[in-house]
Amino acid sequence: MTIQEHRLRIPALQEKVKEACEFVSRLARAAGMNDDAIHRYYLAIEEICTNIIEHGYSQADYADQQPVIDLVCRQYPDRLSVTILDDAIPFNPLERAEPNPTTALEEREGGGWGIFFVKKYMDRVTYQYAEQRNQLTLEKRIR
């Protein structure tokens, strides 16, 4: 089985997130994914990277460390897998309580939709903390 692997490292800065989104979109397109699937990857990558920057790396401890986010894309014959790695404190976003889409807008607290999209838009999402890094892997079948 041939597996193609592509890697990207970005500084953990909001203005660099688009680079990560476009990197994954290009690979998804090259893998033969349709426009809808490419949009879903683009959105998922924005949401995860933004969460890492706004929450994971928000502590002052990281300020002078020039934190990074790594992306590792693996293309299998039947699916594309994207792992997003960061060095913030261990945090499993999949364990966070999901917002409820039926709650009236007046009563909503606002947050949590990012990871909600990721779960909805991907076929499989897994988290592990390994080698002192948060590793969130998104997988989507190539149709």
Binding site: Q14, E15, V17, K18, E22, S25, D35, D36, I38, H39, Y42, L43, E46, E47, T50, P99, N100, P101, T102, T103, A104, L105, E106, R108, G110, W113, G114, F116, F117, K120
Partner: protein, 128 residues
Amino acid sequence: MIYNQLLKSATLFVDIMDIHSEENGKVTVIELFGELDSITAPQAQDHILSLVKQDSRILLDMSQVSYMSSAGLRILLVLYREIQNKVGKIVVCGLNDEVRDVMAITGFLDFFHTVDNREDGLKQLMAS
């Protein structure tokens, strides 16, 4: 698809959301241009909110919004609340398939009246 064209011309991007507003009779038309993401949305929020007055009838034209993430939903949330507080009305028009899907799965679509185009939106708000 607009989204594809944007991806292809990514290097030409400027990370600013353009906002046009105009009074059309008793309706305030707010037209957004570009992507509503985690960079542009926070910058656009204050401007958009400042356009809401007491009893405002707002037509939010999103036909030129190619992409929206959860940061854009946050704007819709505060806009909705501001309009409620000021006893106004809002109609949204011109949602593309992706933006509509983002609003649908998060339940936002259930709380906004949407129409296909600006003419229909104006008609409804004028009559209300």
